[in-house]
C-alpha cells in the first residue's frame, strides 16, 4: 500500500506520528475514493442521450441541500477527530521535553553540522567539552536532547527514520528531543534551503548500544582528572532510568 513507502521507523515517538498519518490517509483516502467514484459514476451515467433532458435541481431548498450538507457534516466530524488524535502527538514531540540522559549542542552552518558534548563535567563551556563535526553519536534507548543554533542562515534538522524535523533559526537556541530504539547509522539531512550546497549538507546519526556508547565515551571524551569521566557517565546512564 501507499504506507509501505514510509521509511524505517526507529524513534520512540515515530510510531505515534505514523499512526496519525495512517489515520488521516485512511480517512481522507476513503473520502477521496467516494467523491471520485461519485464523480465518475455521474459522468458515465448522465452522459448526453438523444432527446434526453436534464433534471432541474437548483439546490436552493434545504431538502435538496441536505445531499451536500450531510456529507459536509461528516467531514467536519472527521476533521475534529483528526485534531483530537493529532494533539497529544504534537504535544509529545514538540511541547514536552522529557529529562534527557544526554544533552548535545548542535550548531548548523553552511554547509555542515557541529555537535558539542558537555564532556565529563556535564557542563557546556568548559575546556573538557568535546566537539565533533558531521557525526552525532548517541546511545540507543535513552532520551537525547538537542540545543540547536545556527551560525548563518536557517537550516533544518531532519532524520526521516526518526520522523523528526525542526528548523534552526540564527539568533536563537531551539530545543528538540528524541530517543532511538534501534542502533544503526541514519542520515541527518538539512531540509530548509540554505544555499547552493544545501543538498550536500549531510550529517550522520550514529546510534550505539549503551555498552558501545560507553566504550566510545571512554575512548573519545577528554579526561578531566581521575575518575571524573567515569562517574559523570554513570550518573548519566542512571539518569536514563527516570525517562518517561
Amino acid at each position: 500500500m501507499i504506507l509501505s513507502w514510509l521509511p524505517q521507523d526507529v524513534s520512540t515517538f515515530g510510531p505515534s506520528i505514523d499512526s496519525v498519518l495512517k489515520l488521516i490517509i485512511y480517512v481522507v483516502g476513503t473520502a477521496f475514493v467516494l467523491a471520485e467514484g461519485t464523480l465518475l459514476a455521474f459522468v458515465i451515467l448522465y452522459r448526453r442521450r438523444e432527446g434526453g433532458r436534464a433534471a432541474f435541481v437548483p439546490g436552493e431548498s434545504l431538502r435538496q441541500l441536505a445531499w451536500v450538507l450531510i456529507p459536509v457534516v461528516i467531514v467536519a466530524f472527521l476533521d475534529v477527530a483528526i485534531d483530537v488524535r493529532a494533539k497529544p502527538v504534537w504535544d509529545l514531540v514538540k511541547e514536552q521535553s522529557p529529562t534527557p540522559a544526554l544533552t548535545v549542542k548542535l550548531e548548523a552552518l553552511q554547509f555542515g553540522w557541529e555537535f558539542t558534548y558537555p564532556g565529563p563535567d556535564g557542563k557546556f563551556g568548559t575546556p573538557n567539552d568535546l566537539v565533533q563535526t558531521t557525526f552525532l553519536t548517541v546511545p540507543a534507548g535513552q532520551v537525547i536532547r538537542l540545543l540547536m543554533t545556527s551560525k548563518d542562515v536557517i537550516h533544518s534538522f531532519y532524520v526521516p527514520q526518526l520522523r523528526l524535523r525542526q528548523d534552526i533559526i540564527p539568533g536563537r537556541e531551539i530545543p528538540a528531543w528524541f530517543e532511538v530504539t534501534q542502533p544503526g547509522k541514519y542520515e541527518i539531512a538539512c531540509s530548509q534551503l540554505c544555499g547552493n550546497s544545501h543538498f550536500a549538507m549531510k550529517g550522520i546519526l550514529r546510534v550505539l548500544t549503551p555498552e558501545e556508547y560507553q566504550q566510545w565515551v571512554s575512548q573519545h571524551w577528554p579526561k578531566s582528572g581521575a575518575g571524573a569521566g567515569k562517574s559523570a557517565s554513570s550518573a548519566r546512564s542512571s539518569a536514563s532510568g527516570t525517562k518517561g
Partner: protein, 572 residues
C-alpha cells in the same frame, strides 16, 4: 433603462478613429487588455514549463547534459526552481486567472460597457509587463536570477554573503514582485468597482455568475493580505541595498518575521488563484451538463467563508519553523476546518452533474479534469495541515505534489478549459475539438504522471530542493519515481503542440463563432462574438439567475439572463 456608462470610458464614436496602436497595443478596452494578459501569461507559463523541464531532467538523470541546456550546476538548479515557482504563481496564475479572465469577463458578465477605470486597467497591464521583463532580465545579470527559493526566506535572501554573487538577481526578484503586486492591486480595484457599481439593470448580486463572485472574493483577499508582504519586500530590499537589517538576527531582528509576512499573504494568495479557477469550472459544468449549478447561494457563502478562514491559517506553513509550538494547535485546527467550505463547493459541483445531460466537449473535459485533481489536492492538504504529521511531511515532495494538485487544476487545467470555452467570445472563432481533446489527454495524463509519484517520494521521506539525490541513501529507492515524473512532464510538453497549433490557427482560420455557441445563459453570450467595442449594442436587462438550464415547461433547455437577444447578435 438608463445605460450605466462610465465617465472615463471612451465613447463609441472614438472607436472609429483609433489607429492600430491605440486599438491593440495601448488599449483601454478591457477585452483587449484581457487578451494581452492572456498572451503574457501563456508566454510566461511556457517559460516556467521550460525551467521545470531543465530541473526535472536533472532530478531524473542527475549530472547528465539536459538537451538544449547542458549540464545543470547546483547554483543553476536553485535558480531554476526559484524562478519556476515565482513565475508560475505571480506571473502566470495571477495574470491568467485575474488579469485575462477577470478583465475579459467581469464587464461582459455583469453587463457593463467596460471596466470602471479603463486607464487604470491599462496601467495595470503595462505595470505587470514591466515586472515580467525585469524578472526575465534577472536571468542575465551577473550571478543570474535569485537562488533563494520562491519563498525567499531570510537571512539566506538578506545578506549577500550567504548566496555569493547573487546580488542583483535577488534585488530584481524583490522589485519585480513589488511591481507585480501593484499591478494586481490596480486590477482588483477595477474588478470590485465594476461588479459593485456597474451592473446592468436587473443584475442583482444574487444573479451574478459564480465566476464573478469568486473574482470579487479573490480581489478582496488579495487587497487585504498583500499590504504586509509589500512592506516586507521593501524592508528586505532596504536590507540588501542599504544594510538596514530589518530581518538580520545580528542586528536585532527575528528572521521569522519574514515568514509571517510572506505566509500571511501567501495563504490567501493560494485562494486568490484557486477561486477564479474554481469559478471557471463552475461556469463550464452547468453549460455542458445542461443543469443548474447545485446550491448557488450555498456556494457563494462557502466561498466567502473560505476567504475569511484563509486569513487564519498562514502559520501552518511554519509548524516546524521554530515559532512557539503551542501556536501550531489553533493553526492546525483552522487549517483543517477550511476543508468544510471547500467540501461544500466540491460536493455541490459533483451534485451539479447528477441527472444531467453531459457533453464531453473540450472545455468540459478540462473542467472535469480540474475537479478530479482539485479533490486530490484538497484531501492531501489534511496530513500537511495536521501539525503532528506535518513534522514528517514538511518540506518533502508531498508538499510539492499537494500544492501542484491545488494550483495546477485551478490555474492551468481550469485555465485551459476557460480558454476553450471563451475562445469563441474572445476571438470570434471556434477552436478545433480534436486537437483540443488531444491537448487535454496529454496534459491531464502527463500531469498525474508527474505528481502522483511525487506524493510517494514525499511519503518515502524525500525532501524537496535536493540538487543531487544520490547524496542520501534513503533517497535511493525513491529515485525511479523521479524518472516517471520527468517522463510525465515530457508528455505534458508534447501535449502543448496541439494546443499552440489550435490556438493560433483557430484565431485566424477557425470556423466563425456564433454569438452563443454553447447555448449558455450568462450575459457574455448575449452579445456578438467577439463583442463590439463597448460590449453591447444596447445594455441588456437581466431577468433571471445565471444557471436556469432545463427548467420544466420551457421549450429549450436554456434560459438566457438577458430579456432579449442583443440587436446585433441575431444568430443563436
Amino acid at each position: 433603462m438608463a445605460e450605466t456608462k462610465p465617465q472615463s470610458a471612451p465613447s463609441t464614436d472614438a472607436h472609429e478613429k483609433m489607429g492600430f496602436w491605440r486599438q491593440y497595443i495601448f488599449s483601454v478596452d478591457h477585452k483587449v487588455i484581457g487578451k494581452q494578459y492572456l498572451f503574457l501569461g501563456l508566454f510566461m507559463g511556457y517559460v516556467g514549463v521550460f525551467l521545470s523541464y531543465v530541473f526535472r531532467w536533472q532530478l531524473a538523470w542527475p549530472g547528465t547534459a539536459v538537451p538544449i541546456w547542458g549540464k545543470v550546476t547546483a547554483p543553476q538548479y536553485y535558480e531554476l526552481v526559484t524562478m519556476h515557482g515565482t513565475i508560475m504563481v505571480f506571473f502566470v496564475a495571477m495574470p491568467v486567472l485575474l488579469g485575462a479572465f477577470g478583465n475579459f469577463l467581469i464587464p461582459l458578465m455583469v453587463g457593463a460597457r467596460d471596466m470602471a477605470f479603463p486607464r487604470l486597467n491599462m496601467a495595470s497591464f503595462w505595470t505587470i509587463l514591466v515586472g515580467s521583463v525585469l524578472l526575465l532580465i534577472s536571468f542575465f545579470v551577473p550571478g543570474g536570477a535569485s537562488h533563494a527559493g520562491w519563498t525567499n526566506y531570510v537571512p539566506l535572501s538578506d545578506a549577500s554573503k550567504y548566496l555569493p554573487g547573487n546580488y542583483w538577481g535577488g534585488n530584481l526578484w524583490l522589485i519585480a514582485l513589488a511591481i507585480d503586486f501593484a499591478s494586481v492591486l490596480m486590477g482588483g480595484i477595477n474588478f470590485l468597482t465594476t461588479a459593485i457599481a456597474m451592473r446592468a439593470p436587473g443584475m442583482t448580486i444574487w444573479r451574478m455568475p459564480l465566476f464573478v463572485w469568486q473574482e470579487l472574493v479573490a480581489s478582496v483577499l488579495f487587497m487585504l493580505s498583500v499590504g504586509p508582504l509589500i512592506a516586507g519586500v521593501v524592508m528586505l530590499l532596504f536590507d540588501r541595498m542599504v544594510g538596514t537589517g530589518f530581518f538580520l538576527p545580528e542586528k536585532g531582528a527575528d528572521p521569522l518575521l519574514w515568514q509571517h509576512l510572506f505566509w500571511f499573504f501567501g495563504h490567501p494568495e493560494v485562494y486568490v488563484v484557486a477561486m477564479p479557477g474554481l469559478g471557471i469550472v463552475q461556469e463550464i459544468l452547468p453549460v455542458f451538463a445542461r443543469k443548474s449549478i447545485f446550491g448557488y447561494r450555498m456556494i457563494v457563502w462557502a466561498v466567502i467563508v473560505a476567504g475569511i478562514l484563509s486569513f487564519t491559517v498562514w502559520a501552518h506553513h511554519m509548524f516546524v519553523s521554530g515559532m512557539n509550538p503551542v501556536l501550531a494547535e489553533p493553526f492546525s485546527a483552522t487549517t483543517i476546518a477550511i476543508s468544510i467550505p471547500f467540501a461544500v463547493m466540491l460536493f455541490a459541483m459533483i451534485a451539479t452533474l447528477w441527472r444531467g445531460q453531459i457533453t464531453f466537449s473540450t472545455p468540459m473535459l478540462f473542467a472535469l479534469g480540474a475537479l478530479a485533481n482539485f479533490l486530490l489536492g484538497g484531501v492531501t492538504g489534511i496530513p500537511l495541515g495536521t501539525n503532528a504529521s506535518d513534522i514528517y511531511l514538511h518540506d518533502t515532495y508531498f508538499v510539492i505534489a499537494h500544492f501542484h494538485n491545488t494550483l495546477v487544476p485551478t490555474a492551468v487545467i481550469a485555465g485551459f478549459g476557460g480558454i476553450y470555452y471563451w475562445f469563441p467570445k474572445m476571438f470570434g472563432r471556434m477552436m478545433n475539438e480534436t486537437l483540443g481533446k488531444l491537448h487535454f489527454v496529454f496534459t491531464w495524463v502527463g500531469f498525474n504522471m508527474v505528481f502522483v509519484p511525487l506524493f510517494l517520494i514525499g511519503l518515502g521521506g524525500g525532501q524537496r530542493r535536493i540538487y543531487m539525490s544520490s547524496v542520501y541513501t534513503f533517497y535511493k529507492p525513491l529515485q525511479p519515481l523521479h524518472v516517471i515524473a520527468t517522463i510525465g512532464l515530457l508528455v505534458i510538453i508534447v501535449g502543448q503542440i496541439p494546443f499552440l497549433l489550435n490556438f493560433f490557427l483557430s484565431m485566424f482560420r477557425g470556423a466563425k463563432a456564433p454569438a452563443n455557441p454553447w447555448h449558455a445563459n450568462t450575459l457574455e453570450w448575449a452579445t456578438d462574438s467577439p463583442p463590439p467595442h463597448e460590449n453591447f449594442h444596447t445594455i441588456p436587462t437581466v431577468v433571471r439567475g445565471p444557471y436556469e438550464y432545463s427548467v420544466p415547461g420551457m421549450e429549450q433547455d436554456w434560459a438566457p439572463q438577458a430579456a432579449a437577444v442583443d440587436a446585433g447578435a441575431a444568430q443563436g
